[in-house]
């Protein structure tokens, strides 16, 4: 029989054991920009990273966060860090779609990677290297910086579970999902964020998606709609990013670079737990005001089909998207056997499991 050794090894250890540090008391102040207003939980995630770095470095690297519009307008954070007006940025990479379509793949893909998927693909399957290659084209160094799990589906005044229910529905959603819904027969408008609440409440649109339950809760969409159409197939995993001006990053002493790396991972871990714990509370509160309806199986399959056709067309058009999506799809493929083998142990409450519901 073949000789078996330990099945894996921590690759970082090889580097880590050789690192030597030059002690330094130099204090560095950085500015951090982001597309988030202070009312969004994403803002707290960005701040969490800044706090972690300050704590871990005993204050030697002091990152001051600036919310949307304080230093630069939301959508200008990328350019601001790229050019060095600020040194760090926090984002949802899909916002930079116009610079390169492939950014969307690092943010969330309809019917694509979930939280677990992003974590494994990014850290173990070469996703991070692709991410750094993409941001690197813009003079940026990037790290994953917050994983928030699945989004909420559509808040809607129209009950929709079957395919035909979506025909002609006036929906607000941006990005790839907008094209997909249009292909499915809905009439989608990319209404700017600030207009969504009033448009939904006055019936300018029938339905809108915004974010995950805990992030949606303060916006009160549940007070002006009747249904939440689940699941949020458009974003199974919201992946946030941290990006650093390369010149500023390269100037850092070795120990601060490690601190940044470790704190980014800590932020990725913390954000998922924090938000999803809140999500569970938020969805309970939503259920007091609105009905949670589920799309039926055939509809989901139809959605998945249209999504695949759409993503294939995007891949055909943009080689950068193809490279990243092929890698993600390959991971989904290789992971499927383990996913199947392990399935059936979903930690449902006892009664739920007894009722025959053994998978998610």
């Amino acid at each position: 029989a073949e000789k078996r050794t330990k099945f894996g090894s921590d690759k970082r250890h090889e580097t880590a054991k050789r690192v030597t540090f030059k002690p330094s008391n130099e204090k560095i102040r950085w500015k951090m920009v982001m597309p988030w207003s202070k009312g969004l939980l994403f803002y707290d995630i960005a701040v969490h990273f800044a706090d972690s770095v300050r704590l871990a470095s005993a204050g030697r690297l002091d990152i001051k966060p600036f919310s949307d519009g304080e230093l630069v307008p939301a959508m200008q954070s990328f350019d601001a860090v790229s050019k060095g007006s600020a040194q760090v940025g926090h984002d949802w990479p899909g916002y930079w779609k116009g610079k390169n379509e492939a950014f969307v793949a690092f943010a969330s893909v309809p019917f694509g990677l979930d939280a677990e998927g992003y974590n494994i693909w990014l850290y173990e399957k070469g996703g991070l290297e692709m991410m750094q290659e993409l941001y690197g084209k813009f003079n940026l160094f990037a790290l994953p910086g917050g994983q928030c799990g699945q989004e909420m589906g559509l808040f809607s005044n129209k009950r929709a579970t079957k395919m035909e229910d979506f025909k002609g529905m006036r929906v607000r959603t941006p990005g790839w999902y907008m094209d997909i819904l249009n292909n499915l027969g809905a009439s989608v408008s990319p209404l700017p964020g600030g207009e969504v609440y009033l448009a939904l409440e006055r019936g300018v649109i029938d339905a809108a998606e915004f974010s995950s339950p805990a992030i949606n809760y303060p916006m009160g969409f549940d007070e002006i709609t009747k249904y939440a159409i689940q699941p949020g197939v458009h974003q199974p995993g919201i992946q946030c990013g941290l990006f650093f001006n390369k010149d500023a990053y390269n100037k850092l002493p070795e120990d601060l670079k490690w601190i940044i790396d470790i704190c980014a991972k800590e932020t990725q871990l913390w954000s998922y737990n924090w938000i999803n714990n809140l999500n569970a509370d938020a969805i309970k509160k939503f259920k007091e005001k609105i009905e949670i309806v589920k799309m039926d199986k055939e509809t989901l399959i139809e959605f998945r089909k249209t999504t695949k056709e759409y993503i294939d067309s995007v891949k055909a058009k943009y080689p950068d998207v193809k490279k990243v999506m092929d890698s993600q799809e390959a991971f989904i493929e290789t992971y499927a056997e383990w996913r199947d083998a392990r399935s059936g142990s979903t930690p449902w409450p006892y009664e739920t499991y007894m009722s025959g519901r053994i998978t998610e």
Partner: protein, 447 residues
């Protein structure tokens, strides 16, 4: 240099620089440049990359599309002479009582405040239309300039309002959505209009020299029925516009930005019915719209640079730490915040104040457990006041621009003082009866 020192120095430098008479927008940008360079260690590319980013962000800001549309609407209304008919009707209806013409100005301004979203146009329109009448009837110059400036600024508070649109866009909170702000501002606007009304009535009855009535024969030219007929008829166009703007928002036809477009279209239709719609009018309206829009937007650019550098230096934290860390009574902190906005309002324009103070003050207000919508409305009344407070009150400048040369800046400054005090009374009323702000939104939008 400490952040505290820079915070104070930046404002002091601005005030000094403004007095040199250079356009305010460029002056804001220049002061921002100097302090921005001090703050970032004289990194010129870093600073201007940031400024360019900010300029592009303004060009890409959908909410602000309402600005040129509201301005176009005001320009068309001005040229289609719809406010003239209402003023002429009220001239004979109210003219015969002491201070009556002043009261007519307040009513006309209040009605038109509900149709337009900016202030420049209403002050200019009433300045052109009302001033000659007030002057020829022997109204005291201080009194008449105060009336027109104060009532003319109601347009920025009473919805639709560009200020409320920007405010709602800035906070991104459900409580302070544009719809809630629009609904919340209706009563405060009416209260202020009533305060002006009462004040003019009482003062002119005590001292008729301030605002004498028109002669009996001039008032007697029309019968009571004719007077009411004229008034009602002249109310149709503004009511149609209110329906076009506020009606379409409430009925779910249009977003607030789109409603501005519907309002402008409504103004075009009115101009057409008044036989004032021709190429020359369209051309002149479009030229004036561009000049006013660019003037406002250039201030946005300069104000944005200023607030960006101020926040980047940490000036915002200095203010927040001082206020929250003080351990003062929450009402005292509220008073201090309002006082700061008031003082800033004396020197810089509403957009710059809003951009600087809202991100700092809203979290403080919420931490102190004040209702965000109510707090926002206090801010907005205060920002409306900034149009009136010397030395740099835009309403005063707009008025000076169109008033006959007999009106000096001193007349205007003196005349506006009592109205500034009335703004304070208005704020006090809103503090005592917060329901005046929160009740209507709860009816329209269920909270």
């Amino acid at each position: 240099m400490s952040v505290e020192f820079l915070t104070v120095a930046m404002f002091a430098a601005l005030i000094l620089a403004i007095t040199l008479g250079h356009p305010l927008a460029y002056t804001l940008a220049a002061v921002a440049t100097i302090f921005g360079l001090i703050d970032n260690g004289f990194n010129i590319p870093g600073l201007f990359d940031m400024f360019v980013n900010n300029s592009w962000g303004l060009m890409d800001n959908y909410v602000l599309v309402a600005i040129p549309l509201f301005i176009l609407m005001a320009q068309l209304l001005d040229r289609s002479k719809v406010s003239d008919a209402l003023f002429e009707a009220l001239y004979v209806v109210l003219g015969s009582i002491k201070g009556g013409l002043g009261l007519a100005v307040v009513v006309v301004c209040t009605v038109f405040a509900a149709t337009t979203g900016i202030i420049g146009a209403s002050v200019v329109a009433m300045g052109l239309l009302g001033t000659p009448a007030l002057l020829s009837k022997g109204y005291q110059k201080e009194m008449s300039s105060g009336i027109i400036c104060a009532a003319g600024t109601l347009g920025i508070l009473i919805p639709p309002s560009i200020m409320l649109v920007v405010y709602g866009g800035l906070t991104g909170l459900k409580e302070t959505s544009v719809g809630n702000l629009f609904a919340g501002a209706i009563f405060p606007g009416m209260i202020l209009a009533s305060l002006y009304f009462l004040y003019i009535f009482i003062r002119c009855n005590i001292n008729p020299k301030l605002g004498p009535p028109i002669s009996k024969e001039e008032a007697g030219k029309f019968s009571a029925a004719q007077k009411w007929g004229m008034t009602l008829k002249s109310l149709i166009p503004p009511m149609a516009l209110i329906l076009a703007v506020m009606g379409t928002i409430l009925a779910g036809v249009a977003t607030p930005t789109e409603a501005a477009g519907l309002g402008a279209t409504g103004a075009l239709v009115l101009a057409f019915f008044n036989k004032k719609l021709n190429w020359e009018v369209l051309k002149q309206a479009s030229f004036s719209t561009l000049k006013t829009t660019s003037m406002v937007m250039m201030l946005f650019i300069g104000g944005k640079f200023f607030s960006t550098v101020f926040l980047s230096m940490g000036g915002g934290d200095v203010v927040a730490d001082t206020l929250i860390g003080s351990g003062l009574n929450r009402w005292l902190v509220l008073f201090i915040m309002m006082f700061i906005v008031f003082i800033m309002g004396m020197f810089i324009d509403w957009a710059a104040i809003l951009l600087v103070t809202v991100p700092i003050f809203m979290p403080i207000a919420m931490e102190l457990d004040f209702n965000p919508l109510w707090f926002s409305m206090l801010m907005c009344v205060n920002l409306q006041t900034s149009f009136l407070t010397p030395p740099f009150g835009y309403a005063l400048f707009y008025f000076k621009g169109v008033a006959p040369p007999e009106y000096t800046m001193m007349h205007i400054y003196k005349g506006i003082m009592p109205f500034v005090l009335l703004q304070g009374v208005g704020l006090a009323i809103l503090c005592l009866f917060p329901g005046l702000v929160t009740w209507l939104p709860s009816i329209f939008f269920g909270g």
